[in-house]
């Protein structure tokens, strides 16, 4: 590959508006990436505060802070904000920044639609958060809004439904953009099977998004019409069936959780080879494994419904299909290990988070396997074991991969190195407090504590106390992260970064662009050999 560094246009030539108007009207993928990332981090902090509200109440048995109906709002909104406001937009932010640079494209395919995709999100977030202040309060039926509980609630539910519609539209537009960019705008010589794995995983994720976000839109529309327009999709009195909501929701919901992890797998697949100074092991299998996971994700949804009373044949099918997903996921873990094996590793912060990811995400995978076994699931469904499982894969999984990606790429984005000592503190504090918070929840679930309850029987007190202490520790650690971000971005403090600060990194953004990457990159596309 050519090692010519693209210096882009001299800075004096930039003719975009400045100040607020720059950010409102920008069609530049780097600006939009930045907007997504700041938005998602803000939502992450908001969702985090809600979590601390939950853990404060659960610190001890008894009701100390909130009324039960408000507690249900806290849990539901924590879920909605983290899923739709934090994790998904963060990955889209990474896609915006990285995909064009990594495929040698000047920008995304539809630059203006890119701008709309972002700006829809603050509108949706405002609708969602404002639902706390309407009569009856915010959505309180869980992030899963099962009917008929959701058809009963006050106007907060309608605001939530509108917010979901808007966020869905944003995701669909963003995915169309990503797919078109990847399929049509790669540099000459970059075939689909030569793309960096982060780009591959995002391509697959974008297809998943287009397939399932519209189904969610359908499901919440049905809830809306059942609430206000006299339909009976989920009302037995009118010939409907509440269980149908669960089928439609989880048909979206299961691929959704893979949407939230596949880009993370992509980030890890960039970081580990860079810090092991060794190519990714088994590139093609990684691609096939990702594709198999995506396809399998469509046929396992009813494992969220093992206790509704499905026919036996259905139960068996979904149980077998679910355990099958462990195979391609295992392949990926083994491939990362084989990449590390006999490499020459250093453990700067990105690598710490990547290795930490493998360790903790795999644990989440194990508990997923346990839950897949339907008879065991009968005891664990709707308990804290499930809460532990999904926080292991979503926090230790998705969130840690996002942290890894941030530390890895921020030198390219800002031209400065983050503070390595603080970064390591962030890693160790997050890792330790994460486990202190969520590991005990496995025991709580096994012992019989249901989820979504504001108060609990005395035998659950011990582990709840530990979990709450861990939660506050984890929350404080993210304030440290906020400081790290501010220091390297807004405050501009940190060593100047070379074009290629990571010795083992070899994708186009490291080999062909300076740090910070120029506002417009790759006007002339490199040729990839």
């Amino acid at each position: 590959m050519s090692a010519v560094i693209d210096h882009g246009h001299a800075h004096g030539h930039e003719h975009h508006p400045s100040g607020i108007m720059r950010w409102i009207t920008t069609t530049n993928h780097k600006d939009i990436g930045t907007l997504y990332l700041w938005f998602s981090f803000t939502m992450f902090l908001v969702g985090g505060i809600l979590a601390l509200g939950i853990r404060a109440e659960l610190f001890q048995p008894g009701l100390q802070f909130w009324h039960p109906e408000f507690f249900n709002q806290l849990t539901s909104m924590h879920g909605l904000i983290m899923v739709f406001g934090a994790i998904m937009p963060a990955f889209v932010g990474f896609a915006n920044w990285q995909v064009p640079m990594m495929i040698g494209a000047p920008d995304m395919a539809f630059a203006r639609m890119n701008n709309w995709s972002f700006w829809l999100l603050p509108v949706a977030a405002t609708l969602l958060v404002s639902s706390f202040f309407v009569p009856g309060g915010a959505v309180a039926a869980g992030w899963t809004i099962y009917a008929p509980l959701s058809t009963q609630m006050g106007p907060g539910m309608d605001l939530g439904i509108f917010a979901l519609h808007i966020m869905g539209a944003s995701s669909i537009m963003g995915s169309i953009n990503i797919i078109t960019t990847i399929l049509n705008m790669r540099a000459p010589g970059m075939t689909l099977m030569k793309m960096p794995l982060f780009v591959c995983t995002w391509l697959i994720t974008a297809y998943l998004l287009i397939a399932v976000m519209p189904v969610l839109a359908g499901a919440v529309t049905m809830v809306l019409t059942d609430r206000h327009f006299g339909t009976s999709f989920f009302n037995a009195a009118g010939g409907g069936d509440p269980v149908m909501f669960q089928h439609i929701f989880w048909f979206f919901g299961h691929p959704e959780v893979y949407i939230m992890i596949l880009p993370g797998f992509g980030i890890i697949s960039q970081v580990i080879p860079a810090f092991a100074r060794k190519p990714l092991f088994g590139y093609s299998s990684m691609v096939y494994a990702t594709a198999s996971i995506a396809i399998l994700s469509f046929i396992v949804w009813a494992h969220h419904m093992f206790t509704v009373g499905m026919p036996t044949a259905g139960v068996l099918f979904f149980m077998y299909a679910t355990v099958l997903i462990a195979v391609p996921t295992g392949v990926k873990v083994f491939n990362w290990l084989a990449t590390m094996w006999r490499g020459s590793m250093t453990f700067e912060t990105p690598m710490l988070f990547a290795v930490g990811f493998i360790f903790v995400f795999t644990m989440g995978g194990f508990t997923g396997l346990v839950l897949a076994i339907m008879p065991i699931d009968i005891q664990l469904q709707d308990t804290y074991y499930v809460v532990a499982h999904f926080h292991y894969v979503l926090v230790a999984g998705s969130l840690f991969s996002l942290f890894a990606g941030f530390y890895f790429w921020v030198p390219k984005w800002t031209g400065r190195m983050y503070d390595e000592k603080l970064g390591k503190w962030h890693f160790w504090l997050s890792m330790i407090f994460f486990n202190v918070t969520f590991f005990p929840m496995h025991f709580l679930g096994l012992a019989g504590m249901p989820r979504r309850i504001p108060d609990y029987a005395l035998q659950f007190a011990g582990f709840n106390e530990i979990a709450s202490i861990g939660a506050f520790g984890f929350g404080l650690s993210q304030i440290l992260f906020l400081w790290i971000i501010l220091k390297v971005t807004v405050l501009g403090r940190g060593e100047r970064a070379a074009a290629r600060p990571w010795e083992g990194a070899d994708t186009l953004e490291w080999t062909h662009l300076e740090s910070p990457a120029p506002y417009h990159s790759f006007h002339e596309q490199p040729v990839v050999k």
């Binding site: 539809f110 189904v215 609430r227 037995a236 009195a237």
Partner: protein, 182 residues
């Protein structure tokens, strides 16, 4: 590719992907009749219609007995509703009639619709209702008491491992006050 050609290629792909999204949205709604069809085929829920019973004599399997239990529920309906017998023991193929009693506790006419449900679920495939008060809405006058029949037979093809079946009805009010939606 020239920038123009690329822009055109991009727009084409945009169109295709938008169509995909639209199809998936339609698919979400199509899941409703799809779900009903699957329920029909697996027999999970088949309401409001008499079941086709084969014209030729359904052989009675006298060697086998099935315990059929009866259950009644009302939802937001001011009626008392109960089966007149808690259970009967029938042979598969044997036509049986049972009675449910409904009483309207109000002093105005009320119309209700009963929705049946079965335990275990797959029994519905083999539980043939020839006549049932659930096939139509029932209107009861003020204070009226009515005994309503259900005539059914159990198909001998009922899997061997099932020997207890519960037939449960939930009565809902129709027109006007029902639903609780504003």
């Amino acid at each position: 590719m020239t920038p123009d050609e690329r822009a055109r290629a991009n727009r084409k792909l945009l169109g295709k992907l938008l169509v995909c999204a639209a199809i998936m949205f339609g698919f979400g709604f199509a899941l409703v009749p799809f779900y009903e069809k699957i329920c029909e085929v697996t027999g999970i829920r088949n309401v409001f219609q008499p079941d086709a019973v084969a014209a030729e004599n359904t052989q009675v399997d006298a060697a086998r007995s099935i315990s059929v239990e009866f259950d009644a529920n009302t939802q937001r309906l001011p009626w008392t509703f109960k089966p007149l017998q808690a259970s009967v023991s029938v042979h598969p193929g044997e036509v049986t009639q049972v009675l449910y009693e409904v009483r309207n506790t109000l002093d105005r006419p009320v119309t209700g619709q009963a929705v049946p449900s079965y335990g275990p679920q797959q029994a519905v495939l083999y539980f043939k209702k020839v006549e049932c008060f659930c096939f139509q809405q029932q209107t009861l006058g003020p204070g009226e008491v009515r005994k309503m029949p259900v005539v059914f037979l159990i198909d001998p093809k009922l899997p061997r491992e099932i020997n207890t079946v519960t037939l449960s009805y939930t009565f809902f009010e129709v027109n006007g006050a029902q639903g609780g939606r504003g």
